[in-house]
C-alpha cells in the first residue's frame, strides 16, 4: 500500500508540475524566446522619456501614418529637424543628426519591435479600435531607451483578440496572408 501511495504521490507531483508548466506556456505566463526585454543601443541615444515624457510630444507627431497605415513608421529625419533646426543644435548628437539629414544618408536605427514577415500587423486598425500605444509598447514615455515589453508572440496577440469585448477576429487570415 505504501508503494502505491508513493507511486501516486510521485505521479501527482510530476503531473501537476507538467500541467502547471503547460498552462503557463500556453497562457503566456512564461515566455520562452521572443526577445521580450530586448533593449538595444541606438546610434543616436534618442530619449523617449525626454520627448514623450517630459515634453509630452504626442506619439503620432513623429510616428506619422499610424492612423491610416499598417506601419507606425519611424520618423524621417526631416521630422526631427523640424525642431532641431533650432533646438539644441550644439549637441554633438544633434550635429550628427543634422549631418545625416543634410547628406541624405539617414540614420540606421536598431529595430526594437520585430514581427516576422508572415505576420501582418496593422497599426491603424488597432488605433481605430481604441487601443492605446502603451497597450503593446508599454510606458515608452518613461523609457530612456526603448525596450520590448511585450513578448509579441502569437499567443500574446491571440490572448487579446480572444477577449469578447475586443470584438477582434480570430481568423488565421487576420494576420497571415
Amino acid at each position: 500500500m505504501k508503494k502505491i501511495v508513493g507511486a501516486l504521490v510521485v505521479l501527482g507531483v510530476i503531473g501537476g508540475g507538467l500541467s502547471a508548466f503547460i498552462w503557463a506556456i500556453s497562457n503566456n505566463k512564461v515566455v520562452i524566446g521572443y526577445n521580450k526585454g530586448y533593449q538595444p543601443d541606438q546610434p543616436i541615444p534618442f530619449s523617449h522619456k525626454l520627448h514623450a515624457g517630459q515634453y509630452k510630444i504626442d506619439c503620432k507627431y513623429c510616428h506619422v501614418g499610424t492612423e491610416v497605415s499598417r506601419h507606425a513608421s519611424v520618423p524621417a529625419l526631416n521630422v526631427c529637424m523640424n525642431c532641431h533646426m533650432t533646438v539644441k543644435t550644439d549637441s554633438p548628437w544633434i550635429k550628427q543628426l543634422a549631418d545625416a539629414y543634410s547628406s541624405g544618408k539617414s540614420v540606421a536605427w536598431n529595430k526594437v519591435h520585430l514581427l516576422p514577415d508572415h505576420v501582418k500587423f496593422n497599426h491603424a486598425s488597432h488605433i481605430k479600435a481604441g487601443k492605446d500605444c502603451t497597450t503593446c509598447h508599454g510606458q515608452v514615455a518613461e523609457m530612456e531607451k526603448v525596450e520590448q515589453v511585450s513578448p509579441l508572440s502569437m499567443g500574446w496577440c491571440v490572448q487579446c483578440h480572444r477577449q469578447p469585448e475586443n470584438k477582434a477576429p480570430l481568423n488565421c487570415s487576420t494576420c497571415h496572408y
Binding site: K3, A7, V158, L170, C172
Partner: protein
C-alpha cells in the same frame, strides 16, 4: 543531487542473505516450492530461466493485479483523448475546418483509440517495472546459469520460521544439485 543518489541507492538495493537450492529440473523446483510453502515459509523466491506455470499455485502467488492498472489507465487514455480533442478543437480554438462542426466526433475516434492503447500499454509496462522493482543495478546473482538451464529456490534469513539447517536439508531432500548460503 540528493535525489539522484537516493534513486541509485534504491536501484542498488543490496541483497538479503539467505539459502539457495539449485535444481536442474523445473518439476522438482515446483515440488520444492510447494514443500517450502507447506513448511510455513512465505518470503522465499523461485528463480527460473523461463516462466513456470505451476509455480504460482505452488508458491501461493495471487494473480497479478496489473490488468486493473491497464483497465483504469486505458479508460483514462480514452477519456483524455476524448476530452483533449474536444477541448482543443471546439473550446480552446474553434477553427472552421472542412465545413465540419467543431466537435465532429467520428473524426476524433482514431485519436481517442490510440490514446487508450498508449496509456494502457505504457502504464502496464510501468506497473511491471515498478512491481518487479526494476531496474536494478548489479543485483546479486545466485548462479549465472539460472537464466539458462538451472532453477533455484531462495529463502531469505528474515523469512518466518527461517531455519538454515532445516531448509538445507529440505532442499537436499528435494533433489537440489547444490545448496548454498548466498545473497539475493
Amino acid at each position: 543531487m540528493d535525489i539522484i543518489e537516493k534513486v541509485i541507492q534504491r536501484l542498488r538495493s543490496p541483497g538479503k542473505k539467505g539459502i539457495a537450492g539449485i535444481w536442474l529440473d523445473e518439476h522438482k523446483l515446483v515440488h520444492a516450492a510447494r514443500e517450502a510453502r507447506k513448511s510455513g515459509l512465505t518470503k522465499f523466491e523461485a528463480i527460473s530461466p523461463f516462466p513456470l506455470h505451476d509455480i504460482d499455485a505452488a508458491m501461493g502467488i495471487p494473480m497479478s493485479f496489473i490488468p486493473w492498472v491497464t483497465f483504469i489507465m486505458g479508460l483514462t487514455g480514452f477519456g483524455f483523448g476524448t476530452w483533449f480533442t474536444w477541448w482543443a478543437s471546439s473550446q480552446d480554438w474553434a477553427l472552421i475546418i472542412g465545413g465540419k462542426p467543431m466537435w465532429s466526433l467520428p473524426a476524433f475516434v482514431p485519436v481517442m483509440f490510440e490514446c487508450t492503447i498508449l496509456f494502457a500499454a505504457l502504464s502496464s509496462v510501468g506497473a511491471l517495472i515498478w512491481l518487479c522493482g526494476l531496474p536494478k543495478i548489479d543485483p546479486p546473482v545466485i548462479d549465472p546459469d539460472l537464466t539458462s538451464h538451472k532453477f533455484a529456490l531462495f529463502v531469505p534469513e528474515d523469512d518466518t520460521g527461517f531455519n538454515a539447517a532445516n531448509i538445507e536439508k529440505m532442499f537436499k531432500d528435494m533433489g537440489a544439485v547444490e545448496v548454498k548460503r548466498t545473497e539475493f
